[in-house]
């Protein structure tokens, strides 16, 4: 296996392709090298869009689109009131036609109870993987171009051996820049999103990186709120042999205040950065207290593991 979940040849559909966000990002994804095979907007089926010198077909439903294109993944740029429904439509279509598929939901601001329903729906279909919502997406840089599904700036990435998983968008970019600063590229980078209820979590990603032949080390970036980082650290201690570098944002966040992301809140004294750093330390994860030091800590971890 090389890279995780998506590769340079993955065929991707864009849900909400005729909206302004959908059109804008579909074009940039094509420019990066992503194989965008079509888009879905109910009521706009049959339309042909010209994007970055490519002609992209629009379909009325995900079912129709997957049947016509044999797509492997879809990315959702649908506004919050309709986004959970779009996730479930994609899950149903991928499950019925292929028994598997990757769904990436970029949308920010989906009601939590909608996500509770959508995540349960996805989990009933074991071949389906949901990334997000409220995330930058997933990218597997290639030798020339690659597969970028989401809104991250493609040009900062390079193919390599570091896997990155993060709750935050811009901090993922920061981590990418840090790997580049020591001459390392990335296998796959995944933003799992900052909402309280989301799809794929840290543990899924760590398991993917551990099994992946291309990935030799992992950078994991968490933030305050919930206990996903603690759970992932405990799991990693037992199951991950590759070196991990960890950072947690929000050490200075006051309790009870939501810090931008819906899930980033310390409630009832739980979910603090201090607890998460402590869990990382206990699990043997190499800690960076400052994101500008991720590169240096990673270099040291690679050296220690005999990889540098």
């Amino acid at each position: 296996m090389m890279s995780i979940w998506i590769n340079e040849h993955s065929k991707v559909l864009v849900q909400g392709i005729t909206g302004s966000q959908g059109t804008f990002h579909a074009t940039i994804m094509i420019e990066y090298g992503t194989d965008i095979v079509g888009g879905v907007t109910p009521g706009k089926g049959g339309l042909l869009l010209d994007m970055a010198e490519k002609s992209v077909s629009v379909y009325d439903s995900m079912f129709e689109a997957i049947q016509a294109t044999d797509a492997d993944a879809s990315v959702i740029y649908v506004p919050p009131p309709f986004a959970a429904e779009a996730i479930m439509e994609a899950a149903d279509a991928f499950d019925q036609i292929k028994g598997e598929g990757v769904i990436v939901c970029i949308t920010e601001g989906i009601p939590t109870l909608d996500m509770v329903k959508a995540v349960a729906y996805v989990n009933q279909r074991p071949g389906i993987k949901l990334i997000g919502p409220n995330c930058p997406g997933i990218i597997t840089p290639g030798k020339d171009g690659g597969c970028k599904i989401g809104i991250m700036p493609g040009h900062i990435h390079k193919k390599g051996r570091i896997g990155i998983v993060s709750k935050s968008g811009t901090l993922t970019y920061e981590a990418v820049a840090q790997t580049m600063s020591i001459g390392e590229g990335q296998s796959t980078c995944i933003g799992i999103g900052g909402d309280p209820v989301n799809g794929t979590g840290f543990i899924d990603c760590l398991a993917g990186f551990q099994a992946d032949l291309q990935t030799e080390a992992i950078v994991m970036i968490g933030e305050i709120g919930g206990t996903a980082e603690e759970d992932a650290a405990a799991w990693a201690a037992e199951n991950v042999t590759k070196p991990i570098v960890g950072f947690v944002a929000g050490a200075t966040a006051p309790p009870g205040k939501r810090m931008g992301h819906a899930g980033a809140i310390i409630s009832g004294g739980k979910g603090t950065a201090a607890e998460k750093f402590a869990a990382f330390e206990l699990a043997g994860i190499h800690i960076a207290k400052d994101p500008s030091e991720i590169g240096a800590v990673l270099a040291a971890a690679l050296k220690e593991a005999g990889l540098l």
Binding site: L171, T227, A253, K257
Partner: protein, 392 residues
């Protein structure tokens, strides 16, 4: 909200003056009433009231049982306009402008009940305990076995056996169990229909005639669902929210005021938190959390500057941008426009990285603006801390 949904609650009247409270007492026709401070924080019963001017202690307890008209007058005078400090408000407390006067009830036992979303289980969780009236964090810590939990399958909804079993866990039987069963079903519906983030009932009581009644409740809503709940505008008490935070939200910014003196302007919530953390790591104190979002225009940057500079504590500003969708040249132009408009008397450190950072830097360098450009967040944090004369 509860009454409309048919959840058992005691009769009560919302009051904003002593006169209101007295006429409420007369109209309720109950000899014993509870006089309750209404603020958006828990722990009111065990809170303390202080005079906002002198800071002198006025009364212990933000929820009082009144046995007479005179009691009602005394308690409402002690509560209204004074500052209530509870375990959840922080030292500053909150000024109480609203009261709730509620008919009394003969209580046989007090319970605790909460409905919330369990992030880890990705499902709605109902928690209940026989230890009502107490601080639930204490209960969870000291006697976790007394806290009973039920998770709701989103496809099936809350099922009859779950309501029954939870009631039996609370050692209820007969008429009381039946009453609990009905109340829990209605409360769950309230939670789902209203997109609540949390409903906490403390205490939930069993009366001497075996009725289950929600005596006091705290409800919070999921902000993400506001598009389908126009009615929230009516119940929102802006007086309880930080003015700058409300305005920032209207402008599409995410802002939280803090106590330090270094203003931060950042794109992305995670990076904004990390910026605060790194400032502190290098000996400074952040004045705020501020995320301008993705793809902000010059006017958004302008609004962000305005909000940061309004804070009189701010002695320096750190701009930290990692451009993804966000273009650094747009931020640079926004910074220049803001400084031209508002003037700048404090040092400014700018770190631009990612999309169009070269163009952004060129714009800053070409201007006569007194700023310091840096390459990394760490350099930026060290520089601003040094410039405002803090330790390194």
């Amino acid at each position: 909200m509860f009454r409309k949904a048919g959840v058992n609650v005691l009769e009560g009247v919302h009051c904003t003056s002593i006169e209101d409270a007295l006429s409420a007492y007369d109209s309720l026709g109950s000899k014993v009433v509870a006089v309750k401070s209404q603020i958006h924080a828990g722990g009111r019963g065990k809170g303390t009231l202080y005079s906002p001017e002198s800071g002198e202690k006025v009364m212990v307890g933000g929820v009082k049982i009144a046995f007479s008209r005179e009691d009602v007058e005394l308690y409402s005078r002690n509560i209204l306009g004074n500052k209530l400090v509870t375990i959840q408000t922080g030292e500053d407390g909150k000024i109480v402008n609203n009261l709730y006067v509620e008919a009394g009830c003969a209580i046989a036992h007090e319970y605790y009940l909460a409905i919330l979303v369990d992030r880890e289980a990705k499902a709605v969780l109902i928690m209940a305990s026989t230890e009502g009236g107490m601080d639930i964090e204490e209960v969870a810590k000291n006697t976790p076995e007394a806290l009973h939990k039920v998770w709701v399958d989103p496809a099936a909804g809350l099922l009859g056996f779950q309501k029954r079993n939870l009631g039996m866990d609370l050692e209820l039987s007969g008429a009381a169990l039946k009453s609990f069963f009905g109340l829990l079903g209605k409360l769950y519906d309230v939670f789902v229909m209203n997109d609540c983030a949390m409903i906490e009932i403390n205490p939930l009581v069993r009366s001497e005639d075996d009725e289950i009644i929600a005596l006091d409740a705290k409800v919070s809503f999921d902000d993400n669902a506001s598009f389908r709940h126009k009615e929230w505008e009516d119940i929102r008490d802006l007086g309880e929210e930080d003015d700058a935070e409300v305005r920032a939200k209207e402008l599409g910014l995410s802002y939280v005021k803090l106590d330090g003196d270094i203003g931060c302007l950042v794109n992305g919530a995670g990076l904004a938190m990390a910026t605060m953390d790194v400032i502190q790591l290098y000996g400074g104190e952040p004045a705020n959390f501020l995320d301008i979002g993705g793809g902000a225009g010059e006017d958004t940057v302008n609004a962000a500057f305005e909000i940061i500079l309004e804070d009189p504590n701010v002695k320096g500003i750190l701009v930290n941008i990692f451009g993804g969708i966000q273009r650094c040249d747009i931020v640079a132009n926004g910074v220049l426009a803001s400084v031209e408009k508002m003037g700048l008397e404090v040092p400014l450190v700018i770190r631009l990285s990612g999309t169009n950072y070269k163009e952004g830097r060129a714009i800053i360098d070409a201007s006569d603006l007194q700023t310091y450009s840096v390459d990394t967040l760490a350099e930026g944090a060290k520089k601003i801390v040094e410039l405002i004369g803090g330790e390194q």
